[in-house]
């Protein structure tokens, strides 16, 4: 089956103004997403995940590399062809209140893409807007609301309805729940899952939260400083992380159960600047098991299972596991233990 989206060796460098120098935001990323699937791109700030999402939508021009959409090369698409293609690939951003103009009401906001991309008349458009609102579980009462009078969750629903207006096949979800409270997060994610099944959508889900991505994506790519360090089926990567960074990322999430005190990986060292990247493995400065060889040349991908690969040289002799340490208990508990 032809992938919906294929990225091939994408590179993005941002020039740094007067002084020269460049920020290496994305450093050679290749990936593909099958129709109807969700690819989760996970990374922390500065990993280049959002830049990657923007390049996939042609909102940013790649410095190098190719982008194919449903088999067609769209890297150099321009003018009317690009505008027409935009109807098929849409985006939902992190903060809906920034993405929705406060000067328009909900109806105008959702109607706008319909005016641009369809030749529906006013009645048909209104009908479609109501339909879209229903599909994100909002009623007609919201038509005349200003985005300012929406809660975070409601605003994100409106942003999703707007993204769906032109009936796209592909959505980039750039941290769609990060600005929302916990309880709203779940309902938005459930909504996105449901919409995917109803409409056969393909998602590129960008997030810093590996747990969230593991629950909602089919495939995962873990990014660190603009490179993919590990990729594979979501469950596989989540349950058997091979790259030291993926292991550290998973271990850093704190369990919301005070009776469980899992031992954790404690990282030290600082993240290198994307302006001045080291020559070898980018994680070497924080990696507890880095060798001298890690600092000289970037590691190649190693296959560690079906469709699962990671870029770490210590996989070769199976010494890529990080040791964990148990963190100190809360003080009151510690004193209690001491008194026993």
């Amino acid at each position: 089956m032809t992938p919906v989206l294929e990225l091939d060796g994408l590179v993005k460098e941002f020039p740094m103004g007067r002084r020269g120098g460049v920020v290496h935001a994305v450093n050679g990323v290749s990936l593909a997403i099958a129709p109807g699937e969700t690819l989760g791109v996970v990374g922390e700030s500065g990993s280049g995940k959002s830049t990657l999402g923007r390049m996939a939508l042609r909102l940013l021009e790649p410095t190098q590399g190719r982008i194919r959409f449903e088999g067609q090369d769209i890297t150099r698409l321009g003018g009317g062809a690009l505008r027409a293609w935009r109807a098929r690939a849409q985006v939902v951003f992190q903060d809906p209140r920034d993405a929705l103009s406060p000067r328009m009401d909900v109806r105008t906001l959702i109607e706008e893409p319909l005016r641009l991309h369809t030749d529906l008349d006013a009645t048909a458009r209104l009908e479609r807007v109501v339909q879209l609102l229903r599909s994100v579980r909002l009623d007609e009462g919201y038509l005349t609301r200003s985005p300012r009078r929406l809660s975070g969750g409601e605003a994100q629903r409106v942003a999703i309805a707007r993204a769906l207006a032109t009936d796209p096949t592909f959505l980039v979800l750039d941290e769609p729940t990060s600005s929302l409270d916990l309880h709203v997060r779940r309902s938005i994610l459930t909504l996105l899952d449901t919409l995917q099944q109803e409409r056969g959508l393909t998602y590129l889900l960008i997030s810093h939260d590996l747990h969230m991505v593991a629950a909602h994506a089919d495939q995962v790519a873990v990014m660190y400083l603009g490179r993919i360090v590990e990729t594979g089926p979501a469950r596989e990567v989540f349950e058997h992380p091979e790259h030291p960074y993926t292991q550290a990322l998973l271990s850093a999430t704190l369990s919301a159960d005070p009776t469980v005190r899992p031992s954790r990986i404690l990282l030290q060292g600082e993240i290198p600047s994307p302006i001045d990247l080291p020559p070898g493995c980018l994680f070497a400065s924080r990696c507890p098991i880095a060798l001298d060889a890690c600092r000289t040349a970037p590691p190649e991908d190693r296959s560690v299972g079906p469709g699962h690969s990671a870029a770490c040289i210590r996989i070769d002799d199976r010494t890529n596991r990080l040791r964990t340490a148990r963190p100190a208990a809360p003080r009151a508990a510690a004193l209690m233990e001491a008194s026993i």
């Binding site: 916990l182 909504l191 469980v260 404690l266 993240i271 809360p330």
Partner: protein
């Protein structure tokens, strides 16, 4: 929900062949935290002027913190938890003001004091760590000078001594090469490093209480882990009590002894950490704990592709009671409150 089901082991790096993996252990949390009463808060209220009636950001707030105790203050955006925490040291963002209540630190009333009198308490007896370190640090002053300024605000020492103590404080929070870093400006630091500078400043005078106002919001998880580790080491070294304001129940579960839950300006429940998680009594707490527990077990929610969800299920999926409550409060405040605490 009240029954603490054995939670599945969260994923972690399995140690190398031969070493048995660390089993999860049950940590005994105490029902009665040790130490004398350090801070007492009665009926604290904070108001902001609104268009008509003033908006009560903090309405019912009673709290006791004992010596060396780590207390989590939990709530979602706009619940008033940050406002309340800052008000404990007499800090209210203008145009808000404290309209009622008492705060006593070791029996000494704080709120009745003038700003000048509170100066001796802030930074010396109560240390503060705020959310966005790079906004909290003065962008135009070298970080070494900022630490030294706080040293000199409460100790009669000369400039050289203050600078030396600044270097030591930065070293204690794991800032690499502190002799050189003192000359850096805040914008030259990463978010995680700037946040550790705040720990250095907050603990430089060995305070009895630390107020940490969402100190890890905006940090990446691996950086957050480093931050929490550093904070915990400094807290143990100084024997301070901590009021940890957060919306992250993971932090609460792993680091706090006791928890107070805030909803719309009120503390709706407080208890020791095990009780909060095993037998939450308020419906809101139950919902929060349930949601937080869920994320430990993503497999349970994994989509089953062979079974598309039924229409009936879809129709009632979204909109928990708390989401509806948030929507109502947003409308009432005209979107203002929801923005005050990101």
């Amino acid at each position: 929900m009240a029954d603490p089901t054995p939670a599945p082991t969260p994923p972690e790096g399995t140690p190398p062949e031969g070493t048995p993996p660390d089993p999860p252990i049950a940590v005994p949390h105490t029902a009665r935290p040790p130490g004398e009463v350090l801070l007492e808060v009665d009926g604290l209220q904070v108001e902001y002027p609104g268009e008509g009636d003033p908006i009560r950001a903090v309405r019912t707030f009673d709290l006791v913190i004992r010596e060396r105790e780590l207390v989590g203050l939990v709530g979602e955006s706009g619940s008033g938890k940050s406002t309340a925490a800052l008000a404990l040291m007499g800090l209210v963002r203008p145009p808000g003001r404290v309209t009622a209540g008492h705060v006593r630190l070791r029996g000494q009333d704080l709120l009745g004091r003038s700003d000048a009198q509170l100066r001796g308490v802030r930074g010396r007896e109560i240390g503060l760590i705020t959310q966005d370190a790079r906004a909290a640090l003065n962008p135009l002053v070298r970080i070494g000078d900022q630490v030294a300024n706080v040293v000199r605000a409460h100790a009669r020492v000369d400039g050289t001594t203050a600078r030396r103590r600044a270097v030591e404080a930065l070293r204690a929070v794991g800032i690499p090469d502190p002799e050189r870093r003192v000359r850096a400006y805040p914008h030259e630091l990463s978010g995680g490093m700037a946040q550790r500078v705040l720990i250095a400043i907050a603990t430089v005078h060995d305070p009895v209480l630390l107020i940490a106002d969402e100190p890890t919001t905006g940090l990446d998880v691996t950086v957050q882990a480093q931050f929490l580790d550093t904070l915990q080491r400094r807290v143990q070294a100084t024997d301070a009590a901590v009021l940890f304001v957060t919306h992250d129940l993971g932090i609460v579960a792993q680091y706090c002894d006791r928890v107070a839950v805030m909803l719309q300006g009120e503390i709706v429940e407080q208890a020791d950490v095990r009780t909060i998680f095993s037998a939450p009594s308020h419906p809101y707490t139950r919902e929060l704990v349930g949601l937080a527990r869920d994320r430990d077990v993503p497999e349970r929610r994994r989509r089953d592709r062979s079974m598309p969800s039924s229409q009936a299920e879809v129709a009632e999926t979204p909109r928990s009671s708390a989401e509806a409550a948030e929507a109502r409060s947003t409308r009432r405040a005209g979107g203002r409150l929801a923005r005050t605490e990101p």
